[in-house]
């Protein structure tokens, strides 16, 4: 289980996250939705320990973290049990897609699992190309594959469908459902609320650094708060 309690974070004196608590079980998919600047990415970076929260606590499996961290050098990071796929993917440009996917395996490639992941994302045709030689969608699949070959227990995804068209986004979300069924807990940050709600077990609506509303994907259909209603209305107008 990944359990976050009272997570707060300030950046340049401004409170970006305010007292956020949530939990995720293995095999669960949670979507974090909210407008730009609501703190979604900061939240993801905080719970993945890329940027430490200022206060609160976090439990990732057996590991417990109390913030503020007193000795940064003694922190036992949860990677790759917990891993992150970023909005811009950050595929290493000097390595082929295959090398990108296998680098962190340090030569211990589980051939069967590797083939499964490559097959899942239909990557065979571009495995030996460099990142600048493949399309955005292919790079995105490579970033997901790079995370999945590590067999993470928790997968954090930051707006990974933002640069994709509806068809590609559907394809990826379908894959995420399959991945969750294998026992991976997925936290999915997105502003594509309707896509997100289709695959999520739980939806958290974040605004102004706070959880404004949370629940099953039904909250997208029947929002309780005016703020979420307004956000959904605006999103629908754009679609």
């Amino acid at each position: 289980m990944l359990l976050a309690k009272n997570i707060s974070k300030k950046i340049d004196g401004r409170e970006i996250l305010k007292d956020i608590s949530f939990s995720i079980e293995s095999g669960e998919i949670i979507s974090i939705i909210g407008p730009s600047g609501s703190g979604k990415t900061t939240f993801l970076r905080a719970i993945s320990l890329i940027d430490f929260p200022d206060s609160g606590s976090l439990e990732i499996g057996e590991e417990k973290y109390q913030f503020p961290i007193k000795q940064v050098e003694n922190v036992k990071y949860p990677y790759p049990n917990l891993t992150v796929v970023f909005q811009q993917f950050f595929i290493w440009p000097h390595l082929t897609i295959r090398e990108n996917i296998t680098l962190a395996l340090r030569g211990n490639v589980d051939k069967k699992h590797f083939d499964e992941v490559v097959g899942l994302f239909q990557m065979n045709e571009f495995l030996d190309r460099y990142p600048n030689e493949v399309s955005l969608g292919q790079r995105q699949r490579a970033a997901l594959a790079r995370a999945l070959v590590l067999k993470p227990k928790y997968l954090l995804l930051d707006e990974v469908t933002s640069a994709l068209d509806i068809e590609q986004s559907h394809l990826i979300l379908g894959h995420l459902k399959q991945i969750a069924e294998q026992g991976v807990g997925i936290i999915f940050v997105s502003h594509a609320i309707h896509l997100a709600s289709k695959i999520s077990d739980k939806v958290i609506f974040l605004d102004g650094g706070k959880i404004v509303e949370e629940g099953t994907s039904d909250i997208i259909i029947n929002p309780k708060t005016d703020r979420l209603k307004k956000f959904i209305n605006i999103s629908q107008q754009i679609i």
Binding site: Y77, Y79, P80, F86, F90, L103, A104, N132
Partner: protein
């Protein structure tokens, strides 16, 4: 007297000049590589102290013609300090200083511009600091800097010619001395040009090859 006759007749003088030029080059290249990389790395890590020092030094050197620097170190400075230093050492010091600052700037800029997100992506994949440095940072930075580095080293080889003006017995000065005896400027300076092309062209081609091979157009589709 043909070019080959001149080379054969004055082979000992030319060879000693060549050795002086190559010796000078080796000192300049080695010091640039060693101290330039260290200086650049420190300038990146300590932006407010070493970084500013490098900036000031590079502005000063960029504003001072090489010949002026060389002459100033050779005549006024030694006169002020009341010391006499061998011209070879003065030339090696001046040109090494230029190379060190040049290399340091290349290294500092590459480190400053390195997209840290690549390192974070490595971290969340479970790579340790050492692996991130050796497998991600170093190869990317190496590929970015090697063409600039090689081009700078070719320029440094060409700058060794200025050492002749403070009486360093390097290849150009030997060629001038031979010319003053036999007055065959076309043959002598053609031979000299061929020599420099023979060394500089492969280095330039190597830089070009590295540029094409490693600094491929990384902009994504």
């Amino acid at each position: 007297m043909s070019v080959w006759n001149i080379i054969y007749t004055y082979k000992e003088g030319l060879l000693s000049g060549l050795l002086v030029t190559l010796g000078l080059c080796l000192i300049i290249w080695a010091s640039g590589l060693l101290f330039g990389v260290l200086f650049g790395a420190f300038a990146h890590r300590q932006k407010k102290s070493t970084g500013w020092f490098l900036k000031i030094l590079s502005f000063l050197l960029a504003s001072t013609p090489v010949l002026v620097l060389l002459f100033w170190l050779h005549y006024p400075l030694q006169s002020i300090l009341g010391v006499v230093i061998m011209p070879f050492i003065t030339a090696a010091f001046a040109l090494s200083l230029i190379n060190i600052v040049g290399v340091a700037q290349i290294v500092r800029d590459a480190l400053d511009d390195f997209p840290e997100q690549y390192a974070i992506a490595g971290k969340v994949c479970g790579l340790n600091e050492k692996e991130i440095f050796s497998k991600i940072k170093l190869p990317i930075i190496f590929r970015q800097t090697i063409p600039q580095f090689l081009t700078l080293q070719v320029s440094m080889l060409q700058l060794t010619l200025f050492a002749s003006l403070i009486s360093v017995q390097e290849l150009f000065r030997v060629a001038q001395q031979i010319n003053s005896i036999i007055y065959k400027p076309i043959e002598i300076y053609t031979a000299l040009a061929v020599f420099f092309i023979a060394i500089c062209l492969p280095l330039n081609l190597l830089a070009y090859w590295f540029k094409n091979k490693y600094t491929r157009n990384l902009s994504e589709k």
